[in-house]
């Protein structure tokens, strides 16, 4: 069984809004002191893939990322968690790719370097753009079915897979034949493992297969951006917090009750 997990390196989503700034020239966030990390849901996707490999008894987990040299760190993180191998697509002069450019590059690399694959895993959305698009688009490009909001995958009968997924009403189990794209969401059952120190060290010695984006067979029109960020801005705070005042807790609570009722939403 071959499982591919696509992982993205993002600006730490936990960074405080106070430290967040946008470079007016490039319309991109200023990295500043914020660390670059593996996108939250992608890390969970690695965990779900590893659990499937364990349940299947054998198999290979390949981590794939589109990003500059620094993205090696998220691939090493996946390998420290026990992914078997890693491929990085070097974007070169591409700059900040949009969802279509990203999906096209990933799909081409999967086809060229990582096929055949049984499952291609993604996080449900990236920790920076929150778009939730790339996994769905890769499925379209590769012509694969998709199961979204998965919390776990296990082998089923006749070579099929059973995907447990979150729905608005609870949980459902979906039977699907490989190959398939699975996008992953968080659940208590798939909290990412913390790598052992020796595995972290070992991951740093493992090779990362680097593919140059221009060398990949991506259709010309998908090398262009289909949806560009024309403007990026920090939303204006339209209200200052009104603090409840009064001599006693009772008085402050009464002030809050009046203020809540004045909102006229109850």
């Amino acid at each position: 069984m071959h499982l591919v997990v696509c992982v993205k390196q993002v600006l730490d989503p936990e960074m405080s809004p106070r430290d967040f700034a946008i470079d007016p020239a490039t319309k991109r966030p200023v990295a500043g002191k914020a660390p670059l990390v593996i996108s939250t849901f992608d890390e969970i996707a690695v965990e779900v893939a590893l659990k499937l490999r364990e349940a299947a008894g054998s198999g290979t987990v390949s981590a794939l990322s589109l990003g500059p040299k620094s993205a090696d760190e998220v691939l090493r993180k996946a390998m420290a968690m026990q992914a078997d191998r890693a491929v990085r697509i070097e974007p070169g002069s591409l700059g900040e790719p949009d969802a279509v450019q990203t999906a096209s590059a990933l799909a081409a690399a999967i086809r060229e370097r990582l096929w055949p694959a049984d499952v291609v895993f993604f996080g449900r959305q990236a920790g920076d753009t929150d778009g939730g698009q790339v996994g769905l688009m890769v499925a379209e490009i590769l012509g694969l079915p998709v199961v979204t909001h998965a919390i776990g995958v296990r082998p089923g009968e006749g070579g099929k897979l059973l995907v447990e997924r979150e729905t608005r009403d609870g949980v459902e189990v979906v039977e699907v034949a490989a190959p398939v794209v699975v996008t992953v969401t968080n659940a208590p059952s798939n909290v990412p493992r913390i790598p052992k120190v020796k595995d972290v060290m070992a991951a740093h010695r493992k090779p990362i297969d680097v593919v140059e984006l221009p060398a990949l067979p991506v259709p010309e029109e998908s090398r262009q951006s289909w949806a560009e960020i024309a403007d990026l801005f920090v939303p204006a705070q339209d209200h200052r917090c009104r603090m409840m005042e009064g001599d006693s807790v009772e008085a402050r609570v009464d002030a809050l009750v009046r203020a809540i009722l004045d909102l006229k939403v109850l």
């Binding site: 600006l11 989503p13 936990e14 405080s16 809004p17 967040f20 946008i22 939250t40 849901f41 969802a99 279509v100 999906a103 920076d128 753009t129 778009g131 939730g132 698009q133 769905l136 688009m137 379209e140 079915p145 998709v146 909001h149 995907v163 608005r168 609870g170 949980v171 459902e172 189990v173 979906v174 039977e175 699907v176 034949a177 968080n186 659940a187 029109e221 262009q224 951006s225 289909w226 949806a227 560009e228 960020i229 024309a230 403007d231 990026l232 801005f233 920090v234 939303p235 917090c241 603090m243 409840m244 807790v249 809050l256 009750v257 203020a259 809540i260 009722l261 909102l263 939403v265 109850l266």
Partner: protein, 342 residues
Amino acid sequence: MSVVAVVLAPEGTPGSGVDELMGCAVEAARATGGELLALVLAGTERTALAPTAERLWRLGARRVFAAADPALRDSDAGALVAALAGLVPETGASVAVLDGDPLGAQVGPRLAMRLGAASVTEVVEVRGVDGQILWVRPIYGGKAMAAVRARRPRTVAVVRPRVFRAPAAMQEGPVPADAVVHLSLPAGALGGARPRVVERRAGSSEGQKLEDARVIVSGGRGVGGPEGFEALRRLAEVLGGAVGASRAAVDAGWAPAHLQIGQTGKIVAPDLYVAVGISGASQHLAGVSGARHVVAINKDPEAPIFRAAELGLVEDYRKVLPLLTDRLAQALGRGGDAARAS
């Protein structure tokens, strides 16, 4: 450039997001100066579509395209994508907007890819600039907003739920005979091997769904333990709302995972969000940026939640909540004695 609001109704009747979707579509049509259309795809007989078609016409669609097939009821998103890839071009619209419920969020980017269209998700605002649309959406966990411009002739946009308002004006009178156009599903749209649901387990049925709640009372690390959530539950009950939790409270095991609100949990958009003992980490705020009014109760005056809140009370919630629950119950005429007794 005409705009088509795409309404997915595999179960027969459209979901609750139709009014808001049409609200967004009206704005998009205004921005481009084009005609507003609607397309409904329903897992029902054609004859059952009349009420939905009329509703869409009243909400402003000049023409309603309708495609119905009972077989859509058991289909997955892939079948809807295949059907829409044929149907959307038939409407002549160059912009398609979908509601961002879990189904629409899944269909949008796939449909865009299939049509060679620009794709944008989580849209919270539409701006018209020189006859072009800028789609505004939160990015970086709501720390910034991105205005996205399509660079393709077609666009598929997915609207964040519970953000737009229903259209202000309604079309009145009898629906013109030529306002509803029936379309047939493209051949083969329902074929092929697809994921098959083999088991369904209902989640906790306790209370209402966070995504639908008009009022949410939410607790964080400051609540201090699972018993503290009892007090939140009582307030939520009086307000007719739901209980939520921050990741810290979920990680601590005080609240179940399905109540988690934030970037890695539920994205909510209530009219009133009461944050109790929540510090306001940015990943949490990303989940509540759609709330109309935020009230923060926290004993730490420096907590970042106060920067996101409209009304603040610096106090230990243990002293506040019983009083607040009681007084609101009296003011609203809802079970004040019960709130006091429990």
